[in-house]
Structure formats: C-alpha cells, structure tokens
C-alpha cells in the first residue's frame, strides 16, 4: 500500500515537463474537473498551486503535470518514484461548469494542455462536439496530444516553429476556425496569461463565451491570504475560492500579468542560491 502523497509513477513528458501520479485517495474521491491542489514539496518549500490534470477515485490517484519554471517547480520535478510530496491540499477552487453547450473549443497552450485535459474529457462526456487546439513552442514540448485526441472530435495542433501541426499561435488557429464558419457555443482557454488574453481578444467580437483558468500566486489556497486576488468585471475576486475559472472577457489581464511578476527578482535569487547549494554537494 503506498503512503499518502507518494509518487506512484513519474513520467517525463517533454524536456522540463514531468507527470506525477500521486497517491491521494481523499483528493481523488472528491476532485472534479477544473479544480487544483496546493503542494509543499518539503519542510522549507513554498506552497504552490497546481491544477489537477487527471484523477482516478478508484485507484486513489491524482495526476499533476509540472513544468520546471522557477525554483519550486524545479525542485518538485526532482522528486522520484517512491518519494513523498510532504503536503498536498485539495481539491480546491470551484469545479468547471460542465454541461452540453453544443460545440465547444478547448484551447491548451503549453503546459496548460494538462489542466485542459480533464475538462475536455468531461465536456465530451456531457455530449458536446469538442474541438481541441493544442499549442507549444515546438514539437518536443507538445504534451497530451494522444490523450486529448481521444476525447475530442477534432484536434488542431500548432507550434511556434511549425515543427508539428500548423505554424503559429493557438489564438490564430481559433480565429481560423471562427472564420471558417464553425458555430462555436463556448471556448475554454488554459495556458500562459498572454495566450489566454489573445484567445479572449479573438472571441470578444463575436461574443463567444470564453472561460479561462487562472494560475496566480497563492499561499494557502483557501481564501485566507488574498494573494491571488484579481479584478474581474470591475470586482476583486480571489482565484483560489471564486475561481480558478472566470469569464475571460471580464478578466483584467494587464493586472494579472503584472502581479505574476511580483517575486521575479527574488525567484532568481533563490534559484541561484539553490544552484550554489547543489554545486557544493557534487
């Protein structure tokens, strides 16, 4: 029997992108698409929010897909099978509103393909006609292509360098779809802030309802710190308890992008110090 929060399986999906299957039975049995967890790798680690990329209540496992970005994600990705993540809290946030909307487009940019996947799966199961658009910088960074294909009616792939699918951004692909006359009832977009903003710019003229899932800085994830606050439709919302999904046309992305840079200088300092510490050990 695995320990709580034990890594049952570790898979490398792409350079710098790792998939963990974690033994978290209570979270797995309560999780719904769109929700997230807050993890703390070890006693000195930060608490960071990570969207649940899949869950299996029967097996008692949840899937987290993590891209090495800063110090905390790098250290997390360094864990191996059989090791434990010290703390995993969840499921947190409001679940996605899954229903039969008609035709939906699910846009996953970069590692955003991971949180997009369980929502796509649920939308498909609810009877929607699902177009998925997956984007990455290049072919080797593209993740969950086969999994997404299985739960979509149509899959469109694009890469910045054209090494797989069409060359270009996901927002461009979505604009093409709209221009081709496909009637779209709702769009989901998950990925970097600039990508979600670009998608919203594309869907705004036609008034296509667009849901975005925000991944902001957070400490507790339960509404206690307010560090994740963001302006939506002129009102302050907490991503952890009011979100993480919001009406993309109402989100103030400029503020979101600036707030995400709050610790940029400290992060690089911690990163450097960490590299030094690692250097001492070897």
């Amino acid at each position: 029997m695995p320990q709580l929060n034990e890594i049952i399986r570790k898979t490398s999906l792409a350079p710098g992108i790792v998939r963990f299957d974690l033994h978290c039975p209570d979270i797995a049995s309560h999780a719904k698409p769109g929700q997230f967890v807050v993890v703390r790798r070890d006693e000195v680690a930060e608490r960071i929010p990570l969207t649940i990329a899949d869950f299996d209540a029967a097996a008692g496992t949840i899937v987290l897909i993590i891209q090495e970005a800063g110090l905390s994600t790098k250290k997390l990705c360094g864990l191996e099978r059989g090791e434990r993540v010290t703390d995993v809290l969840g499921p947190l946030g409001q679940p996605s509103e899954i229903e039969n909307y008609g035709t939906v487009v699910c846009v996953g940019g970069g590692v955003g393909a991971a949180p997009m996947y369980p929502i796509t799966k649920a939308l498909k199961a609810a009877g929607n006609r699902v177009h998925s658009i997956l984007g990455a910088r290049s072919k080797d960074l593209l993740i969950l292509e086969e999994e997404t294909r299985r739960v979509s009616d149509e899959l469109h792939v694009c890469t910045d360098d054209g090494s797989s699918g069409t060359r270009g951004f996901v927002s461009g692909k979505l604009a093409e779809l709209i221009a081709s006359g496909v009637k779209i009832d709702r769009v989901w977009a998950i990925g970097p802030g600039v990508m979600m903003r670009a998608v919203c710019d594309v869907t705004r003229p036609g008034g296509i309802p667009t849901v975005v899932s925000l991944n902001t800085l957070m400490v507790d994830g339960t509404g206690m710190c307010g560090g994740c606050r963001i302006t939506v439709g002129g009102k302050v919302k907490f991503v952890c308890v009011d979100g993480p999904e919001f009406d993309g046309h109402q989100v103030e992305f400029g503020e979101l992008l600036k707030r995400s840079r709050m610790y940029a200088d400290r992060e690089s300092r911690a990163d450097r110090d960490h590299a030094c510490r690692l250097g001492l050990k070897t």
């Binding site: 209570d26 309560h30 703390d87 509404g223 206690m224 307010g226 600036k258």
Partner: protein
Amino acid sequence: MSDSRKTGRVDMPRQPASVRVRNFDEVALGYSEEDARREAGRCIQCKNPLCVQGCPVDIDIPRFILQIREGDEAGAAATLKLKNSLPAVCGRVCPQEEQCEKLCILGKKGQPVAIGRLERYAADRETAAGQGSRPGPAGSRPAVTRPSMASPTGRSVAVIGAGPSGLAAAGELAKLGHRVTVFEALHKPGGVLVYGIPEFRLPKAIVEQECDFIRSLGVEIRCNYVIGRSGTVDELLRTGFDAVFVGTGAGLPYFMNIPGENLNGVYSSNEFLTRVNLMKAYRFPEYDTPVHVGRNVAVIGGGNVAMDAARCSLRLGAETVHLVYRRGREQLPAREEEIENAFEEGVRPVFLTVPVEILGDENGWVKGLECIRMELGEPDASGRQKPVPVAGSNHILEADTVIMAIGQGPNPLLTLTTPDLKLNKWGYIVADEATGQTSKKGVFAGGDIVTGAATVILAMGAGKKAAMAIHKYLQQDRP
C-alpha cells in the same frame, strides 16, 4: 514580601529595542526563578479571588501562584493544565490586563500581580524540566503533567480547525474519554498561533509543544484537510463521527476597496504574516517563500495584527514603517504592551489618517498612499468617537509596501457546503453562547467563526464550553 506588594510588580527582562529589531527571537525573556517567587509572593491569596472571575477558562489562579511561591513548579503547571491546555501560549498572548489582572485586588491601589508572566513561567519551567508535553514511550510520562483521563466512551468527535478554539475543544473532549480527530487546512496545526502571531511574540517551538501535548491525550490532528472541499460536515456525520465542533476562525482578509489595492507590494496582513511566520520568509533564502519588504512600509490599522505586521517589517529591513490609523493614540485597539514595544522599536504612528487611494508606478508597483486627515467627532455605536474626514486635507505618504491590517471576516468554505447551518448577516455561525450548539443537530461552533475576530483565550474558552456541551449531548444521544 509586603514591600514588593507596595512597590509594584517584578519587571520581566526584555531584549533591548535596538537589538531585538534585528532578530526574530522572543522579545520578552521570562522570569528567573527568583523573579517568579518574588512576584508570586505579591499575591495575597484572596478568599474570594476576583482574578478567577476574569479568566475565560476558570484557572485556579491563586493556587498556581501559591505553588510557584512554594517552589512546586510542576504542581503549578498541573493546576494550569487542569483548565487550560495551552498555558505557555496564554501566558504570552492573553490580554491579561483586560481579564484576570484587571480584577486583581492589588490593582486598586498599585499594580496587579503579573499573572500572565507567572503563567508563562510555570509552563516554561515544566517544558525545561523535560516533564513537558512531548509524548514519550508508554509509561515514561511523569504523572504530574498528565491530566486525569476518563475511560474511553467509544464516541467520536470531529474538530474542524486546529486553532485555539479547536485545540481547546479537542483537549477537553479527549480528557472526557472521546475519540477526537482534528481537521486542519494548513500544513501545521495552531491556526493564528502559527500563521499570524510572529516568532518574537510566540516562539513556534512552544506552539508545537502545546500541540504535541494535545496529541499525547490521544487526539489525532490531520493537516492538509479542508472541510468544505476535501470533505463536508455532513460527510463527517455520515462516516462515523457522532458530533462536530467547528472552529474555523475569522480568516478572510478585509481590504478597504480603494483604488490601487491590487498593485504589487500591497498585502493583506494575513498574507504578509503567513509568509513571514508560517512559511518562514524571514529566513529566505534558507526557506523558499519570499516576502517583499520595501524601504518605506505603511501598515493600515491599529490592532495587534497591525503591530505584528509593522514590527515584522522593521525586522525584515524596512527603513521606515508607518502605522496609519484613523483614530488617535488613545483609541488604538492593540494591547498596550505591544503598542509600547512597537513604538520603542521605531514604528512611526500616523494618527487620524485614512488612505483614499494607493498610488502605483508604470510597472504596477506601489509608490505611495494618498491620505486624508480625520478628526474625532461624536461617539459611534461602539462608544468610540467616530473619525470624520477633514475636507481638503489630502496628502501623499511615501510607501513601497502597504499592509492592510483592518480586520478579518468569516471564511465561507465550510458554511457554503453546510446549507442547514444558520449564519448571521455577516456570515458568522449562529451558536448558543453557553454551549456552542448551532442550528444543526450534533454540530457545535465556537471562537472567531461565531464571535468575529477576538482573542486566543476567548476562543479557547468557547472551545472548552462547547466540549462540555458536546459531552452532555453524547451522553443523551446514545445510538
């Protein structure tokens, strides 16, 4: 002895302000044995002690003080723990000047007995003597610190929230023979004791010892479990718990709803203190969590939390820390001791002032506060003079970090998923004051989630009262 009764209480040594402002070590250093016996000697052992009436958890105060005077420190600790599971905490953070010490008869003509300092002394001595709270192998615990335990009742109680009310309720229920599981959302138990109150006022090792003591009574504490998300109250009642105590506190930060509050460098006091205390950002980069403290910090508010945030800012290297408060010095709601400590350390008060906008630079960072001056008008409903804006008094206060410490509200995660739990119009749980009984059968509540943000000891008192009521409920409600 009679001399010292007249001359006033024995001082407790503190780190000098110029030294302590550069570290996070505890400010107040505690009594020596000699200090404690001298101070204990000031107590005149009243036949009808008024001090006990001021104690929310009914500690036999004259008795534990007499035990200190007679050198029976273990006995003093046992007397405290009979009524209070967390004496080392309460000795430090209780507002004794508003409670037991306020009623001490010596206070009528001179200074009251320093009951809080003596409580702290007894608790710390017990820990130091190794008789303390760490559970050892079976039988290794000295009987003196272990309160008498009732035989197991076979009933189970879920306690939600490992803060002061939850821990107090858990300790009492365990002593009464019930099986207790505490569910805590954060990764460490203690609630405000670990995320809010800074190390220099309440060392976290002490909170850990007190939590270990609660565990040694047989209580299981499950962290990383948020009721309202990882499970619900109804699930707990369905899956084997006979009663539930809700002590989820007042953890929702209030903001002022003025322009600029989402600029970088603006924190809720909750976030700022959680980063510093729970996540140990003051030891960054040894700990990974960062906190931003600029050169000029403005803390908005005048309570204990505002003082804590201001004093942390100084220790984290801020050049100036302004405490911006809408009323005057006399109206500051913080404890006098903390106000004096803060000002002595260099926190600069800006009274009768309210920010109306937070100003930012082109990169989205705070650069200042636009404030207006206030004057005190007629008393409001609370009896305090209401601050009234002075027309045309707008001015700029330079600041690159702003911390909002204007209060907290009830967190709705649990209550939203427990629809049959009656709330008042502010979202607090409606519960009987004497018993903690809520509108839902088998569910009791106490602490800040019922009263709104109050003190550690009031929350503990509510937890204890609810524990007694739950005990009674379980005796009547046999399956």
